[in-house]
Symmetry: D3
């Protein structure tokens, strides 16, 4: 089966991470993965959720949204009744993933909010948001260090994410929108740089899958994530 | 490590499935799994969501809620702003799981809504809702067959779910609330009777996990699900 | 006119009060009155509404809801815009009725919330909620006494409620749903054990009624309530 | 006990009914009962609620609101979350009362909405709204007759309402706000011109009451309503 | 072109300002400008918006609403989702206009809310609300002075407003509803007694307009406002 | 008085219009005016608002939003209760401005929605949205022409907008955020290419202004708009 953009089954789309894309944010990154473009902005604020008041520790959370015309069809803004189910699921995933490599107590009573706004969407926006959100988070923590707000290490290792799916019986890495919408199985993997799982979310949209297929998909994800971790390292090693 | 109720690490709680627990529903099941009690009621209605109008096919969806005093502390009703993020995530999971074994076209333009109301909650309510919801669904489909609404087979095989977690470094099957709230890894597995995965949702709350641990958790889940499928079969083989 | 379940005009349905039906609640009662089943759970919390802060006194309030499939037809959950008009009217009535026999100052700055969830509904759910809520309230107050939270007497006497209506020109006691929906007059009476009125709510749905008819309905209500007070006493005299 | 405005216990406040007070409405009445002023406007619209579509019959409904500065203290507008519980209870009562004397089928598929806006409030606003709403309704029906929209009789007899209460142990007719807020028993009676009850709503705010007291209050209400029906007749006999 | 009520192009409608129209308010004014009737009530409250807490200064704000039957057609109440866009625009305009002539610091930490409720609406309700709101504000400030809440001068000069438009190519002053709804240009001018502009809001509904036309409209507005300032002065010079 | 970025009082910020910035939109433009960056995307949809159904004509509307981190401080998303008052005022202004130069009947029953999302905000976002929205609109209409959806001319002439204000007694053109927030007078002017006014919105935040000052501000606006119209022409003359 040929992919619509000519990639091999285990090939990711061209990836670019642009640090500092949001002028006023404490940390930021514009991630482009093919035609999926997500602007990630990290804001540091002197406040914590109610359950952390007085605890001395901080919080990392994420918000996710798409511009109305990010995709082929215009979608309505989520203005009337709060973030919908899909949006909430995504922003909870991004927040959990970034917290899993963070020492929240080291932040003091501060919140880092990672705003992930999809400027263009062609599949894989939630995984791109995690990958780019990590870069924004690192710079926000660096900003805090410069300000003297944190003294010890906050982030223990890198975190990134990728999607895998089964389309017409074949496992594919990093699904574009057209592939994603026809996938029989849809999986998102969040991992750390040391090859540990943070999240494993696999859904059989139509065809329940075997343990063997699960194993193949996990290995394909690891293969793609190695390249993504490399891109994160390179980006962060380049001076802002 | 001893479990608070004396179970072995790979032992599930006492399970009971009571068909027909909701007098007026087309299908229903009260599932009790230790102190987790979920009342599942399947309602058949002559309507479909907008995107299915005129398609000839039907829909299966789920709603999930907890009575305010299902747990140790009273929780507020979700009356003001619609179902919250956690609730929506759960009811989307239940719906997807039941649809994965269903032939929606065979339903005609009808919707089966599975209401899953937690009367008592002690961990694992979402997986119990899937297991009990399957029984309610079967009886609703049987009711439709008696009415002549469906002619061909609707449900291809059984579906059920279980949780697994890592507590104090040990993998445990079917977590109670006290275990769940201190778990480093939290996983929910939805499978079919033929040992295929419908959903794999694993989250590292604090400690990312290795591939080996993932494999052990998946096998523990399969072990527990075999007993649950047996209980479903037995329940459905007993006349109402 | 024969009643659909064979009762005499002034006969109530079989009544059962099951104390302690909600494991984690401070007080609880499952009331079944024919096919009307209401689960009443009393929760004691260390908080009061804003207008009582600093007053030293407490509050008793009620919430009322029906499971979506409590009745013949599925009804939508009240999740989107808060409790509707009918629901608010009912929960205000339950709260007022229970407060009318309570010494709120004796509670200290605490709130007792009586959750009344209708598991099955066949008419008379609001009156059943008052009758069962009283039992749950008594046990919650007993729990408070054991904890040393209250020292003096809180509840002055028993309170219970019943419906009466006029169907096809005949006064009937304790209406079932089919009777209620065709009643020309619909009345709910809340009384105390000493035969005093707490609430008298009579509505002519289609036919305004005379003073003589009002008098007959009030006496019929008193007749039924005597049996209900007896059932409450018996239930509360049996050890939990 | 002397009343703050010098009235006798069974004396109503000065009553005035001003027809046609709302220039553009099909029927209207400004009722002033002491310092309680309610502007009632009846609007006829060519639409019915969903459940009446195709039935050939119509509907009468009411909306109730207070201007923010109708009372001694400013109250916030009910703009954010729809009408509150008290408001809904009141507007349902007004609507039911007016429908009880109306032949809805005679209206055709039209809705008459009675807007009751309290310009000044000093107790008894809901009963004044019923009394004044009746006058507005009559004129709206007359307007419909002139337009040829109705041919047969729509309103069978007059309807009006009054409050009674127990203050410091004494039954009082037509409570002012200061009396109402200190009443031990609070009662609203809606009756027809032929001395039949449409609604009987009695609430023991603090002291449950005996059957004898109930009887005395009902007779006091009837006494006051005779004067109110006389005022309605006089007003409607005067040409607009 | 003849105006429907026979006025000359630069003639305002009959204007009447009735002070003290809201019995319980600290200041109030019923303004009638032809068939546009707006009840303005000023309430003084001991609270300020969050951003002024501790500042020592106060706030003046406005709320605007129409009775459902103020106009030819019934309009729905804005009860469900807060004030709509048009309403918010209007109440922000009224508040800004009144604040522009006020010394907020002189108020102390108090808020004056000007409720502008349209009893009858025939065009120009927002400008009438500003003109009448000014009178209500003056009386509320006088009440504060009598109470000793303010010592120095609060209001520097009078403020009032008027509409102008272009209908069928002709500039018209003080548009009625029928003129307003067919106007090619719609303008509202808020000015002070010393002929300074507070707000200039001109909108070309269909035909963009030249600088010359703008100048003519501004002069027409000034001409009308001179009469309105005169009416305000006369009203405030008459003892309450 | 020196401006913080060294501009002369009547000098606009560097302006850039980038057509086609939104890949999937029918028309689009990224406008950058100094540090104010607004992404304008025009979407053509085959639907119209209810009041235009069956009319044969179309509609042009706008939505406006800011990314949470567009400015120095993070602002919360408007997700909970719909667009706020300021947002609605802005998007109504953008929509009206674009409609004032459009022949809506020529569109057929279609809606063009101009989404204006502020990526970076430093004052003047609403006027930039009008200027950039015009370019996006032109390209959307061109796309419609290519598709054969429109045959006759739709847009009669160019429209653009600019702000002017009074800061420390001096009139300034094209205010940056720091200037805008300390302005005594704040004005937005929308004009057409033929020097006609579409909107004139001047507000005295603290100091009412004279007619002479108004005249000077209007001329300053015209001076700036000439340069902006030139930039629009140049941009649209360059092939996409």
């Amino acid at each position: 089966m040929a992919r619509s953009d000519g990639r091999k089954p285990d090939e990711i789309r061209p990836l670019r991470l642009e640090r500092g894309a949001v002028k006023y944010a404490e940390g930021s990154c514009l991630i482009t993965l093919g035609d999926t473009h997500v602007l990630c902005a990290a804001s540091v604020e002197d406040k914590v959720p109610p359950w952390l008041k007085g605890s001395g520790g901080g919080w990392i959370t994420a918000e996710y949204s798409m511009l109305p015309r990010a995709c082929l069809q215009r979608t309505a803004r989520e203005r009337e009744r709060g973030a919908g189910g899909r949006t909430q699921e995504i922003q909870r995933l991004i927040g959990r993933s970034l917290r899993s490599v963070s020492d929240l107590e080291a932040l003091g009573e501060r919140t880092i909010t990672i705003d992930c706004d999809v400027l263009r969407g062609d599949g894989g926006t939630r995984t791109a948001a995690i990958t780019g959100g990590y870069v924004a988070l690192i710079d926000a923590v660096n900003w805090m260090r410069e300000k003297g707000f944190v003294s010890r290490s906050v982030i223990s290792e890198a975190v990134a994410a990728i999607s895998i799916g089964v389309v017409m019986g074949v496992e594919l890495l990093d699904l574009k929108y057209d592939e994603d919408s026809s996938a029989a199985v849809d999986m998102n993997i969040v991992m750390t740089d040391s090859a540990k799982f943070v999240e494993v979310q696999g859904t059989a949209e139509s065809a329940p899958f075997t343990e063997q297929r699960l194993a193949r998909m996990l290995h394909m994800a690891q293969h793609g994530l190695e390249q993504i971790f490399e891109a994160q390292r390179e980006c962060l090693n380049t001076p802002l």
